[in-house]
């Protein structure tokens, strides 16, 4: 498992993939940060995180689109699947590599808040809550992106379908506001990734939401494993 993790990390930095992700992420985050806090002369970071979450729809697929699709296209998955490594190890190694790069980039982008600390008095509890919430959403999106990457051998298709699915999740959250049915609203509210983020923006660590995000991540990693198991038998 560690061998695959190492190779993935190496690939992020010996090919443009990792640099492109980091550059676009940091540019987007910097732009959003300057618009929502510096120009507004506000230390409230809620809006920054809310807009950044929308940007995730495009950013996360950059990270996940190649993970399995490229292996399939280059026929290197035969090496991985015939090595004495379990499917779970393979999927987890790739997931952890993507997560490491994501976490590193989020950590770099967190330096923005230092400027807020220098010139104002931000609510650090809220910043921490939002950051944790964003990391959890990122974990969830990475798992979804990797699952969709395992379904195709074309990186572009993987990226477009991931963007589509993540957009669908936003639309799902919007539907919540226009539906009349209470039951439907309740169900949508429960499954919506975005509505569960609200508590984090208030600086509250919502344990049930954290479990929900991690469970979603687990479900999609499980589905990725199942894709490979099914393909073996199909």
């Amino acid at each position: 498992m560690f061998a695959i993790y190492k190779r993935e990390m190496r690939t992020y930095f010996t090919t443009p993939a990792g640099y492109i992700f980091m550059a676009i992420f940091l540019c987007a985050a910097g732009f959003i940060f300057s618009l929502t806090t510096l120009q507004e002369q506000s230390t409230d970071v809620s809006l920054y995180f809310q807009v950044l979450m929308i940007a995730y729809i495009v950013l996360i697929p950059l990270l996940t689109m190649r993970s399995f699709a490229e292996e399939k296209r280059n026929k290197t998955e035969q090496l991985l699947l015939t090595a004495p490594v379990s499917l779970w190890s393979l999927v987890l190694a790739k997931f952890l590599a993507a997560f490491t790069l994501f976490l590193g980039t989020v950590a770099v982008s967190s330096l923005f808040f230092v400027t807020l600390g220098m010139y104002g008095d931000p609510n650090w509890g809220r910043i921490l809550g939002c950051t944790i919430g964003m990391i959890l959403i990122g974990v969830c999106f990475i798992a979804i992106g990797m699952f969709l990457s395992s379904l195709t051998d074309n990186q572009f298709t993987a990226a477009v379908t991931t963007i589509g699915v993540l957009c669908g999740l936003v639309v799902l959250a919007m539907l919540n506001g226009i539906l009349d049915s209470y039951v439907l609203r309740l169900v949508l509210d429960w499954i919506s990734i975005y509505s569960r983020y609200t508590n984090f923006t208030m600086g509250i660590f919502d344990f049930s939401s954290a479990v929900y995000y991690l469970s979603m991540c687990g479900v999609f990693l499980f589905l990725t494993v199942r894709v490979y198991e099914k393909r073996r038998f199909s």
Binding site: K6, T76, Q78, S86, F233
Partner: protein, 319 residues
């Protein structure tokens, strides 16, 4: 070393393998031979755990590939039809990655150096994989299969896409590896299997047609004696005269011509020798016989007979 029992594999309604069974002994080189779509790659993919069969078992050194996949896979080195190479890595980086992936316990650098020496890629160790020639890529593919010193090597079409010089090099390498490993290779090139393998399993439409030693396979089918004869004379009349000889079953022009002579295949009943009769019959007509030789049956002939219930007469084949 490898026991394959009653493998069945279907892709939807298409039956790729139909009750395939065979076994391979230690340090034996087995050739899986068959036309495209015969089920060779499917069988190999199941043997290596890449695919699962609908029914049947594969045991590597007694370890079932489904029940003990980790242990079974440690005993196999696999070269798929397209070598599974990462173009962005250097050769030695790639081999180190495979070494770590296979969780080997040898001295890493010494082991990789030895494999590079055996596969003759030592001079390319620092090169980027995507810049390698096809021959080097194929040998690197074999090198990755050798990492961990597995008892069994499964090589799917190992010479495909290579030039004649590279084919000879890879065949020699496989022969060398056969001294230390059990080797299973697939091919649709008949001469390759003849040149390299101790035993041949012929597959067609997912079924085993034949499982024989390479040197005795042509005896597995009832065959007619056959000679190739070159005669200076009028083609049609020569053929008619040949066909009229006792014991001759068929005679046909091969299509080869040399100056004023034409070549013919003459088939006669099993166990008969019509060479003297041919000579005297041609001498009587004053048609000089300028060449005559016995034609053996190549693996290709056997293959065609088994797969096609073949009409082999009149086709140009030479041992």
């Amino acid at each position: 070393m490898i026991e394959v029992e009653h493998l069945v594999k279907s892709y939807g309604t298409n039956l790729a393998l139909d009750d395939v069974s065979f076994s391979v002994g230690e340090r034996e080189i087995l050739g899986l031979l068959g036309p495209n779509g015969a089920g060779k790659s499917t069988a190999m993919n199941i043997m290596t755990g890449y695919l699962s069969a609908n029914a049947g078992t594969v045991r590597i050194d007694g370890k079932d590939i489904l029940e003990e996949p980790g242990e079974a896979k440690k005993r196999i080195g696999f070269l798929p039809e397209t070598p599974p190479l990462y173009g962005d890595m250097r050769v030695e980086e790639y081999l180190r990655f495979v070494y770590d992936l296979k969780q080997c316990t040898y001295n890493r650098e010494a082991h990789i150096e030895e494999i590079c020496r055996v596969t003759r890629i030592s001079d390319a160790r620092r090169r980027i994989v995507k810049n390698l020639s096809t021959g080097y890529r194929q040998r690197l593919g074999i090198a990755q299969a050798l990492i961990g010193n597995p008892g069994v090597l499964v090589l799917d079409e190992p010479t495909v896409g290579l030039d004649p010089k590279q084919i000879i090099e890879v065949r020699n390498l496989i022969r060398t590896l056969g001294r230390e490993h059990t080797v299973i290779l697939s091919s649709h090139i008949l001469s390759e299997v003849q040149a390299v393998c101790d035993r041949v399993v012929i597959l067609d439409q997912g079924k085993v047609l034949c499982d024989e030693r390479t040197d005795s396979i042509s005896r597995t089918i009832q065959q007619n004696a056959r000679i190739r004869v070159s005669i200076c004379g009028p083609g049609r009349e020569v053929v008619e005269t040949l066909r009229g000889l006792p014991n001759v079953i068929s005679a046909a022009a091969t299509g080869d011509r040399e100056k004023d002579s034409f070549s013919y295949f003459v088939e006669s009943a099993p166990g008969t020798d019509v060479r003297k009769d041919v000579f005297f019959a041609m001498a009587q007509q004053n048609w000089p016989v300028v060449g005559m030789e016995e034609e053996g049956y190549s693996l290709e002939d056997v293959f065609l007979k088994l797969t096609d219930a073949g009409n082999i007469t009149g086709k140009k084949r030479k041992k």
